[in-house]
Amino acid sequence: MVIQSFTPLFAMLSSLVAVFPITLLKQSENRREMWTFIAAIIKFALVISMVPIILGGQTIELTLVSLIPNVPLKLRVDGFGMVFALVASSLWIVTSIYSIGYMRKSKEHAQSRFFACFALALFATLGVAFSANLLTMYIFYEILSLSTYPLVAHHQDKEAKIGGRKYLTYLLGTSIGLALPAMLIIYNITGTLDFGPNGIMAGHELGKLLPVLVLMFMYGFGKAGLMPLHAWLPGAMVAPTPVSSLLHAVAVVKVGVFCVIRVITGIFGANYLTLHGMVPLICYVAGFTVITASLMALYQDNLKRRLAFSTIGQLAYIIMGVGLCSYLGIVGGVAHIAMHAFGKITLFFCAGAIYVATGKKYISQMVGIGKRMPITMAAFFIGSLSVIGFPPTGGLVSKLYMLRGALQADMIPIVVIYLVSSFLNACYFLPIVYKAFFCTDSESQYEDKINEAPLACIIPPVITACVTIALFIYPNLVINLVESAMGVL
């Protein structure tokens, strides 16, 4: 069943429209941030309003304008997109609270630009989530790259500029150099770019071109951060923490992964890829990233950089899960978008809270910090459990699905990769928590007195930490949505 509705468009536009009051109200901070809030809440409400329809097994479609023969600018909401949109829009509200606290406390400059670009980025993120064809998705993907550039280079110092340059070079370079020609080749072969339930390639034999195309897409959506094209993500950590948390743990990177998922499921089709033996290629490319990123994370002393490498690994997880092309793998992969998002954003929030409260960025400086900031570190602990995949957090659910998916696809090496990387995850997160709480008094760098970050920086991680636990108890919130899309597929 397909329903025509403007709701997805309105959900996207709510943040685009907010850009204008945000830029115009430069003088009054409160009114400007009120607009961010209003937009975030409207957006979330609109997205939520579509959930029952999607759960009912229907999809929402809206054709905006026709761009190229057979390829209109078209929106389509299904379970996959819904999961992603829900995550992004709910976390925008939380992040807005957080960024207000963070930006005010650290007296950042150019806050109007910051909030305006943020709203623009959310517009593009939802656009990607709701795209009905590859071209629409590509358009929003590029808008996202451009709108986040000012956020990355926000500090305007030399480091930020280099980070920004790297960011654009990688993202634009890959999307123009790889994704665009791949998309054109597909268009020339099939004459369409709409995501089909079983792909659109059925009946077209590509021969040796197929692995090339698959790799062009995987690396072309550079936001997915597959190694060796991952260097932009640690570089982008120069951005203010709210940016890192929402965009580089959730929106931007997940957009990359989401695009790869769409290509695998909607363009090639899982069956087609299995049939042509592409599964090992995808899985091993992603698996390599999983292990390498986890190992590199071990050596990072900068907390945000360690989180960044952890993110790279987790993104590759998702691609690996979907790349298995088995039912459970795909469900697990898409669900992991949500599960990982809540876990990882908690961690970033905590890192930001520590920075706001103490000005410390490095892990070696955080010995004993649990005594000073117990709530923050407790949230950090829960977040890291979710990323590791340990009960009672949502991360476990999706990881189990992916593991079963690997077994379903008879890919034993992938099972091993999952297990090893979970172990590595534990290796690079738990010592931080351990040292923060259980160090001897002589080692502790902080006094016992509790001195947390401002309230606006504490509430968001607590909320997201609670959500990760809630997702363990009620995983069906996410799983049902994903499976509704699988039913369509």
Partner: protein, 496 residues
Amino acid sequence: MNIAAQLPVIVLVLPLLSAFAVTLVSLFNKKLAWPLTVLTMTATFLATTGTLCSVIHNGAIRYRVANWAPPFGIELVIDHLSALVAVVISIVALLVAIFAKETIQKDIPNRVGQFYTLFILCTVGLLGETLTGDAFNLYVLIEITSLTSYALLAFGGSRAYFSTFNYLILGTIGACLYLLGVGYLYIKTGSLNMIDIATLIPALSGSSAIFTAFILILVGLWIKMAFFPFHGWLPNAYTHATSTVSAFAAPLMTKVTVYMSIRLMYFVFGPDYAFSQFTGPVNIVWLAVIAILVGSYYALVQTDIKRMLTYIIIAEVGYMVGGMWLGNAIGLTGTIYHIAADAIMTACLFLALGSIAYKLGSTKISDMAGIFKKMPVTFCAFLVGAAGMIGIPPTAGFFSKWFLISGGIQAGQWAFVVALLVSSLVNAILFFRIIEVGFFGADDEDEHDAVVVQRNEAPLSMLLPTVTAAALVILLGLSTSKVTSLLIENIVGSLF
């Protein structure tokens, strides 16, 4: 008078008459020249739009000037292609006419009338080139545009004279080669009417004279459009001209010449003839690839934005020539679409740059520090134009690349595909260099030490056309499907 039937010629006559009116009026009151010019351009724009609508509804128009039947008299041929190009010309001319007010008033207060007259006549020449159906008449109109543009470009300060002189010499060689080509055609066919010649050529396809004519016409037009290896004159001539003139010449001159070469290659010689002559090792697409790479390379090493843009134009000419020589429908679609897209994008960039130069007095990249805070609206318009040049959707530039790359893939011209992608990436580097400086200041200074810049936006008469051009870049992108299905498919469909 039946206005609907006379519309094709009104497009030309209206600006022509008012050009002389501007001369005469400005002898008595110089202040009237600008409003009269804007009024003329608006009317011309309406007339071209009307013609376009009429072509869409009723099909191509063949207008007999002086009511002589072709091939004895001269006829105007307005099909979907020429109507489209005419509309693009009139839009850009209108925008530049509005834009011109402040700069011209500042630079040459006592020669305003002459400037606007030459400006309007140049537009008439361009419009005439698109509408005419006569090979020799095209030569006359080429010369009108050339002569007016020599005069307009030369007026731009001390360095402009020498660069314009080079343009004059090369431009004249180009036009003369074209004229000679027409002579060769005339000797063999005895006709000057394009449609008539097209019917005579198939019988003469083995003739070496026709082949020479083909080469002469092509090379002549290549010189005029600054196609590699004849591109040497363009960067200097456009860089040293005043911003208003380069904002007019840069978007239109090369693009209309590309249009002419499509007209002659596809509608006079015919695709069959053209492609049968160039098969095997002699392939024009390879020249286009070199043009794109050379243009992109030289654009990279420039420190002046205006000069950089001129090299981008050379690369863009490579796009279009390559697209039309791919020999498939989608490649030609890309070229035709790119004529419109590139004209508007280039206009947008040059207009924005003109406003910046007006306020800043410089177009060097290093002087752009903090320009975003100083002129936010202008700079945003510049960004849109830049996004178009890079090919970021949904700007028009993306779709022209889409068609061109598709065409390259279909024709198996992988070098062309790679060259297009490389040039996109190079453009990305070029423009982000500027954007970085514009947003965040130059490399060596720290933002917090930088002087607080006051907002100092360009006057409304400059802002309005700049913003309009930026909006058009996006609007054209979003209406790609309309443009292709209503206009370009009609043209391309009749050829392939």
